[in-house]
């Protein structure tokens, strides 16, 4: 269990993290998600001990770890750049934390081989990192993290240097790893798809503040505010202001593209501006006059052309209402 109490961080004058409270349960897969520069890495590095806090308390398994050096926190980290030791073989890379812990060589050997088996690295143990592909390097970095059997794993955007296809398969591998190890994982990403697919619990960060904490479906169904509403979900939720919102006694109303139906007797009318056929789905950009431009997900077989006029209806109960302060209304 990792608990942050009023944790703050400023670099000189700049308050990057003005004060965060958060509890991470044992065995949880927690994802910190938010736009670039919002302080995700900083928060992770505070937990790791690579940066000092400017205030607040970080406790790990009930022990105050705020002033412990990274080496004493029993956490393992996987960096965006992998940060492998280029002068050591894969075997030595993975064994390095064990060597630092002064473990006996036979046990080191056993653990390295075990990790290599889990991660399919058996054939590469004697290569240098430079001779590996991006995905293999990522696995070595993970191997180096798991051999120590840490209290928790910290990942900082581990997949952002991989190509799209590899990203999907590594994502699944990390999820499977979590299921088999059942160790706490804290995972930082700016990609909400990764957050949605991997997390038990998502922490949405914006400008160093927590906007919302919850399971992926909670965030999807009931975003706490406009920021989360706009950030989670792809394509983005449609946000409508003005008279249409006033009809629902709100400042802003939100409706996801998949919750708008094309129907001849719908209340909204618009002109198709663009239609993207993905095969399974068709995304329409509809110019709906006073409502603004709406994104609508239609079935894969729907054939619409720019210039066509459509009528649309929001699905009942899917409309979200937000007040003047941007917070969701009940």
């Amino acid at each position: 269990m990792i608990t942050l109490t009023q944790v703050r961080k400023s670099f000189g004058e700049v308050d990057v993290i003005p004060g965060i409270d958060l509890a991470i349960e044992d065995g949880e897969f927690v994802v910190f998600v938010g736009p670039s520069g919002c302080g995700k890495s900083t928060l992770l590095r505070l937990i790791a001990g690579l940066e000092d806090t400017s205030g607040g308390i970080i406790s790990i398994d009930g022990v105050d770890a705020t002033d412990l050096p990274p080496a004493k926190r029993r956490l393992a980290m996987v960096f965006q750049s992998y940060a492998l030791y280029p002068h050591m073989s894969v075997r030595k890379n993975i064994a390095f934390p064990l060597k630092m812990a002064g473990m006996d060589p036979a046990e080191q050997e056993r653990r390295v081989n075990h990790a290599a088996k889990i991660l399919n690295l058996g054939n590469y143990l004697d290569r240098r990192p430079g001779q590996l592909s991006g995905g293999q390097r990522q696995r070595v970095a993970i191997g180096r993290a798991i051999v120590r059997e840490p209290t928790a794993f910290l990942f900082d955007e581990p997949l952002s240097n991989l190509d799209a296809a590899l990203r999907v398969s590594m994502r699944q591998e990390i999820s499977e790893l979590h299921q088999s190890l059942k160790t706490t994982m804290i995972y930082v990403t700016h990609d909400q798809v990764e957050a949605m697919t991997m997390a038990d619990k998502i922490v949405v960060l914006n400008a160093g503040r927590i906007e919302q904490v919850g399971s992926p479906m909670e965030l999807y169904r009931s975003p706490a505010n406009l920021f989360v509403a706009g950030f989670i979900g792809s394509p983005k939720m449609n946000l409508i202001e003005g008279p249409e919102a006033a009809k629902h006694a709100a400042t802003t109303i939100g409706i996801r593209p998949e919750h708008i139906d094309i129907s001849a007797d719908g209340p909204w009318e618009g002109v198709v501006g663009l239609s993207e056929h993905l095969g399974s789905d068709t995304f329409l950009k509809v110019n709906a006059g006073p409502l603004g431009t709406l994104t609508v997900r239609a079935g894969g077989e729907v054939m619409m052309h720019p210039g066509d006029t459509v009528r649309m209806a929001p699905q009942p109960g899917k409309l979200l209402r937000f007040g003047a302060d941007g917070k969701a209304m009940a």
């Binding site: 080496a71 965006q80 940060a83 030791y85």
Partner: protein, 276 residues
């Protein structure tokens, strides 16, 4: 990108470049040749010199008469010793500046460099008197200390520019892996920086080997390196061209070889990273 260059043009450039190379190298070539001649032949006209007999006599004479060996070892000890000590002091310092930079780091680097720009002659008198009073004149210890200090700024600078190229995340990874600061520097940073450390080592051995102000001022015989040994030939006693050449060849050969290995790093080291 690579384009065909006409062969005539290439031939002209080749001829010009080789001519220039030959002219610039000629003085060195000439002492190498003279070293293998007898004193009598060495002062003849160039053509006569070329076609006279070859002999190892001068090398024998130099070895026997003037204690070449002792001077050679002094040069080795002074240059290698001062460089190793400077490295031992500079590696931790460069680690600090490269990986834990503060607001003052840049000023500190510039200040270190500025000590290098102080002309030696500005402190000649006190250094001479200090050495005299502490009985360090003509001692290797004193000279090693001076050479260490005059090269320390360059060593720190070179290491700093090399360390800057190593991603900090790798050192952080080591820290997460439970490495102490000592292990971090010993097992991760130093091995990764081996090429940089090696070229720093090489360049500074060269600079210390050729240092010809303090070595001339502060030594006479016991601790005198090759610079002083060669300088002792400046007052000629009879025919000495061949012996001077043989001695010179032996004095410059090791460093010529090291130097050719380090040409690339030379630029970087001597311009304090301003030209790479």
């Amino acid at each position: 990108m690579a384009r065909k260059v006409s062969n005539t043009r290439k031939a002209v450039v080749t001829a010009a470049a080789w001519t220039m190379g030959f002219l610039i190298f000629f003085p060195i070539l000439w002492i190498i040749i003279l070293g293998f001649k007898s004193e009598g032949d060495a002062i003849k006209t160039p053509l006569q010199v070329l076609f006279s007999d070859w002999t190892l006599q001068s090398y024998h004479d130099v070895q026997e008469r003037s204690n070449y060996g002792r001077h050679f070892w002094n040069s080795v000890i002074l240059s290698v010793g001062s460089t190793l000590i400077a490295l031992a002091i500079a590696i931790p310092a460069a680690w600090s500046m490269a990986f834990v930079p503060g607001r003052r780091t840049k000023d500190l680097l510039m200040w270190m460099l500025s000590t290098k720009m102080m002309p030696a002659v500005g402190v000649l008198v006190p250094m001479y008197l200090l050495f005299r009073d502490f009985g360090l004149l003509d001692s290797r210890i004193g000279l090693v200390a001076v050479l260490t200090l005059i090269n320390l700024p360059i060593v720190v600078w070179m290491l700093y520019t090399y360390f800057k190229e190593i991603p900090g995340e790798i050192l952080e990874a080591a820290r997460m892996d439970g490495a102490s600061l000592r292990s971090e520097i010993l097992y991760v940073l130093t091995p990764m920086a081996v090429p940089g450390i090696a070229s720093t080592l090489l360049l500074n051995i060269i600079l210390a080997w050729n240092e010809a102000f303090w070595t001339l001022q502060l030594t006479t015989s016991q601790a005198a390196p090759l610079t002083q040994f060669i300088a002792s030939y400046s007052s000629p006693e009879g025919l000495f061209y061949a012996k001077l050449s043989a001695a010179s060849t032996m004095a410059i050969a090791p460093i010529l070889i090291l130097g050719w290995f380090s040409q690339k790093q030379l630029v970087r080291g001597l311009t304090f990273g301003a030209v790479k």
